[in-house]
Chain length 178, copies 4
DNA sequence: TATGAATGAGCGTTCATTCAT
DNA sequence: AATGAATGAACGCTCATTCAT
C-alpha cells in the first residue's frame, strides 16, 4: 500500500471514530470525510460501505482489548487484573462510543466479525476465580453482560470518574461475593 | 381539547411506541402515522417535532414508572420491593426500547423533561436501607446508574430471562453487601 | 386524487418526456423535477423509481399508438391506413425519443409492461394485405422491425421531412411489392 | 510513439470495444482499464476524455468499413456487392454496438470525426445502379438512413438471423424496385 | 511513463416538516 | 381539525478525471 494511502486510511479511521462517537450510527460519511480532510471517495476506496468502515473500527478496538487483557493476565494479582481491566474498558467507553460496540458485539452477537475477545477475558476471569477473588458461580455470560452494561451506560450518560468508581464498586462487590 | 383530538393523541402515542420499539430512533413519521391510522399532519398538530413526540412517550413512561414504584413502596418487604422494581423495569426494557430511554433520561440528563422518577425510587431505596436490605453507603446516583446500565444492556443485547436473572443477582449482591 | 396532485403528475410526465428525449436514459431526476417546476420528492410520490416513471411514459405512449391505429383502421383505404400510421409514428419518433421505446419495447421485449400495441398494428397489416396493398409474405415481425428501425434512426439522426419521405418510400415499396 | 505505448493503446481500444459493447455508453473507465490490464491513468494518457476514447473506436470501425466496401467493389456482381456489404454491416452491428455508431455517425452527424465512409459506399451504390440492380432515384442519404436504421434496430433488439434476412429482404426489394 | 489513490460533483432516493386542500 | 401532497436538504454511493507517487 502506498504511503499516502496508508496515511489516509489511518486518518479516516480516526475521524470515523470521533464522528461516530459524536453522532452515533447516523453519522454521515460526508462529515467523516470532512473531518479526515479527504474526499468521500477516499473513504469508499478503503471501505466499500459505511457498514464496512464501522466494522473495521470495531475490529481495531477488539484487537486493542485483547492486547490489554493479555498484558494484565501476564502480571500481578489475578483479582486486581480482572477489575483493572474491567475499569479500564469502562473508562475508555466513556470517551469512545465504538469501544462499547466492540465489546458489546463480542459477547453476544454471534454473527459478528472476526477477532473474539472472549478468550482473553475468560483467562482473566478463570485466574481471578482460582485466586478466590471472584465467586466461582459467576460465568462469562453475566460478566460480559455487566461489562457491556457498564460501558453502554458510561458512554450514554457520560459517567464522571466519581460515579464510575462508585458504580463499579457495587458491581465488583457483587462479583467478589464480599 | 376535543374528544377526537384526544383520541388521536392517544392513538399516535401508542403507535409511536410500537414503531420506535421496532425501528429505533430512525423510525419514520410516515410509519407511525400509518399504524395510528391518521395523516402525518395530525401528528404534527399535537407534537411540533419528532423529538417532541419522542419526549411525550418518555414522559408517559416515566409516569408509569412512578406509579409502579409507589405501589411497591406501599406494600410488603422493603428490600424485596426495591429489587422487584429494579427487575421489573429491566424486564420491560427488554421489550420496550423507549422504557430505557425514559429511565435513562431520568437520572442523568439535566435538560430532560418534566416528571422526575427519582423521588419515587429514592423512597424505595431509603426504605430498603432502613430495613438493612441494602448497604447504607449506596447512593441514588450509582443505583440509577446500575438500573440504566442494566436496561440499556438488556435491550441492546436482548437478554434472555436466564441471563437477566444471573446478571441482576450479581448487582443485587453488590447492593445488599451480602 | 387531488386536483393539484393530478396537475403535478401531468407536469412531471410532460417534463420527463422532454428531458428523456434530450438526455436519454441518463437524464437525472433533478433535471426533470426542475423542468416540471416541482421538488424531486413530488416525482417520487407518484413514481417509486426512475424506472417506474420511464415505464409510465412508455405505457402512455403505447395507449396513444393503439388509439391512432384504431382510428385509421376504421376508415378509408386499408393500404393508405397502414402507411399513414407507419409514417405518423416515425414522424413522432423524431421529436419524442420515448415514442420509439414504446414501439420498440412493444414488438420485441417480452418482459415489458402492459398494453400491447401489436394487435392494433396487426389489424392494419391484415387489412392492407387483404386489399392487395401489401405483400402476403410480409409478417408482423419484419413489419415491426422496420417500424422500430425507422423510429430509432429518425430519432437518432433527426431525420428531416425530406429524408423521412424518401427513406419510407423505399420501405413502403418493399412492403407493397411494387 | 514508444513501442509499449503503442501496445497499450491497442489493448485499451480492444478492451473498450468489448466493454462498450457489453455495457453501452454507461461503461466505466475502471472496467475498461481492468480488462485492458492497465491503470486508468494510462487510458487518459492516450485519450483525453471518455468521449475521445469512444471516438477513437468509431474511427477504427470506419476504417474497417471502408476496407470491406473496397474489397467488394473490386470483385463480382455490383448488385450483390452492395447488398452483401449492407447485410454484413447489419450482421456485425448485432454483436458490436460500436459498429452501428460508426456507421451512424458516418452519414449524418456533421460534427463527426475524420474518415468518411461515404465515398466507399457511394461507389458500391453507383455501380449497382449502373448495373440496373438498384433504382436510379435512390440517393445516398436514404441508403445510409436505411443502413443506419437496420443497424440500430438489429443491435437494439438483437435481431436473430431469420428476422434479419426477412427484414433486409423487404429493404432490398424496395431498393431494387423489383 | 504508468499507476491507481484521491477528488468531488452528481446520482437516485428518503423523510422530517410545511401547507394547500 | 385532519389530510396527505409537496418540498428540498441530506443521505450513501459512483465514477470521470486529476495528480502524487
Amino acid at each position: 500500500m502506498r504511503a499516502d494511502a496508508q496515511r489516509n486510511r489511518a486518518r479516516v479511521l480516526e475521524a470515523a471514530e470521533v464522528v461516530l462517537a459524536r453522532d452515533g450510527l447516523s453519522a454521515s460519511m460526508r462529515d467523516i470525510a470532512d473531518l479526515a480532510g479527504v474526499g468521500v471517495g477516499t473513504i469508499y476506496r478503503q471501505f466499500p460501505t459505511k457498514e464496512a468502515l464501522y466494522q473495521a473500527i470495531v475490529v481495531d478496538r477488539k484487537l486493542r482489548l485483547i492486547d490489554r487483557a493479555g498484558e494484565l493476565a501476564g502480571a500481578g494479582d489475578p483479582g486486581e487484573a480482572l477489575f483493572t481491566f474491567f475499569a479500564a474498558v469502562v473508562e475508555d467507553a466513556t470517551a469512545k462510543k465504538v469501544f462499547t460496540d466492540a465489546l458489546t458485539s463480542a459477547g453476544i452477537d454471534a454473527k459478528e466479525s472476526a477477532p473474539d475477545v472472549r478468550p482473553a477475558i475468560e483467562t482473566l476471569l478463570t485466574r481471578a476465580q482460582e485466586a478466590g477473588a471472584v465467586r466461582r458461580d459467576v460465568g462469562m455470560p453475566e460478566l460480559l453482560a455487566l461489562l457491556a452494561a457498564a460501558c453502554l451506560a458510561a458512554q450514554h450518560h457520560r459517567w464522571d470518574p466519581d460515579l464510575r468508581t462508585k458504580t463499579l464498586a457495587v458491581m465488583f462487590d457483587g462479583l467478589s461475593g464480599r
